[in-house]
């Protein structure tokens, strides 16, 4: 769209009120860029027209190079920071996942205490070997702690399993401690 000087001047007020269509607005700006008398008329009608033609501020090559150098340094620093923090973060995530898996397994396993009546928690013989932390042939007395039942392949070899069974009618508590994790 091309506008004459008169048409551009007629649109000054609408320009300032954001009432021009995108094409008209562009045409006014382009005209002002190339027409000195209209530019003077525009800034006389509204001083804010001075800013319309301001354009981008000049940024030297040195400034650009300086920004790039700082960004490179920042990236190197952040990468080093990540390398230092990463393994710990991964270990933490691994530990959390492992703990969550252990809890889920404890609750969902067919022989898990939460799914059985508290009274026969110690006496059960059902469930595959390794799912029950208390060997069926060797029931743990109430209140005893059984370290390393270790008959399951689902836990790491060096994990220690503690089974606290306070007694009939009381909930049974099982801990699985994976010593390979550094929390």
């Amino acid at each position: 769209m091309t506008l004459s000087c008169g048409e551009v001047r007629d649109r000054f007020e609408a320009y300032g009120a954001e009432a021009l269509a995108a094409g008209e607005r562009l045409a006014v700006r382009e005209h002002l860029r190339s027409c000195e008398p209209c530019r003077e008329e525009a800034s006389a009608s509204d001083p804010l027209f001075l800013f319309a033609g301001a354009g981008a501020l000049p940024v030297s090559e040195n400034e650009t190079a300086g920004v790039l150098a700082s960004v490179r340094t920042g990236i190197a620093f952040k990468s080093a920071e990540r390398r230092l923090q990463g393994p710990t973060a991964r270990r933490r995530a691994g530990a959390l996942l492992s703990a969550a898996a252990a809890v889920a397994l404890t609750l969902l396993a067919p022989g898990a205490p939460a799914r059985r009546a508290p009274t026969d928690a110690l006496a059960t013989k059902s469930g595959p070997a390794g799912r029950s932390f208390v060997p069926a042939s060797n029931p743990v007395p109430a209140g005893a702690i059984l370290p390393k039942a270790g008959v399951t392949k689902k836990y790491p070899a060096d994990a220690t399993i503690y089974d606290l069974s306070p007694g009939a009618g009381e909930p049974r508590v099982v801990w699985i401690v994976d010593r390979s994790l550094d929390i």
């Binding site: 300032g16 509204d46 501020l57 400034e63 790039l68």
Partner: protein, 209 residues
């Protein structure tokens, strides 16, 4: 020698790619592509930041922070959208935050004191002449101090960078009507400030809303 030539050639190729493709390549860890983006976009980002924060030194800091954030968040960049809009969004938000910080407030206060002293030394006619002689950018720095960060950003992006209100709405994370509201208020404040700081310039006005 071959490696140096190869790196230079890759750099040259990267310079010719459009923003979006460079961003996609940078997302895969291509540092040459990322650096080409930084070199290409630094002038625009520094220019916008300079107008919002009011001085070149802080503007360069904002630009550095913006590119670092871009590098950290490249995995979140959705290439169906304009890279420019995404970059401006990050840079503008950082510039607005920077403006709000106590350090910027302190500098703005110092700058205002300087302007007040300068104005006291000048007579009325000299003031208007001085304002007329000022470049648009210097005049903007002098009169934009009373704008909020969002008003300033909206005005700079609309009037000086010539972006659409819809794009500004995406950058400022608000609705188009809010952008228009920011622009309306910014214009009102700027006209009032020009009249105060450079009455000769404002006195030439034929129409005032």
């Amino acid at each position: 020698m071959e490696l140096v030539y190869s790196a230079e050639r890759s750099r040259q190729e990267a310079r010719e790619l459009p923003d979006r493709e460079l961003a996609v390549q940078a997302r895969t860890g291509d540092m040459l592509a990322f650096e080409a983006l930084v070199l290409r976009k630094t002038p625009a980002v520094v220019s916008v930041a300079r107008r919002i924060v009011g001085n070149a030194e802080d503007a360069r800091d904002v630009a550095q922070m913006a590119f670092l954030r871009v590098w950290e968040q490249l995995s979140r960049y959705d290439e169906t959208y304009s890279f420019n809009t995404w970059l401006y969004r990050i840079a503008t938000n950082l510039a607005i935050d920077f403006l709000r910080s106590s350090r910027s407030r302190e500098r703005a206060h110092t700058a205002t004191l300087h302007l007040v002293r300068m104005r006291e030394e000048l007579t009325g006619s000299e003031t208007s002449r001085s304002a007329e002689d000022d470049s648009a950018s210097r005049l903007f720095d002098r009169v934009a101090g009373r704008l909020t960060g969002k008003q300033k950003a909206a005005f700079v992006l609309r009037e000086m960078e010539d972006l659409d209100t819809s794009e500004i709405a995406v950058i400022l994370a608000c609705g188009e009507s809010t952008v228009r509201n920011h622009l309306f208020n910014a214009r009102k404040i700027l006209r009032r400030e020009i009249e105060r700081v450079a009455p000769g310039l404002a006195g030439r006005s034929v129409k005032k809303p």
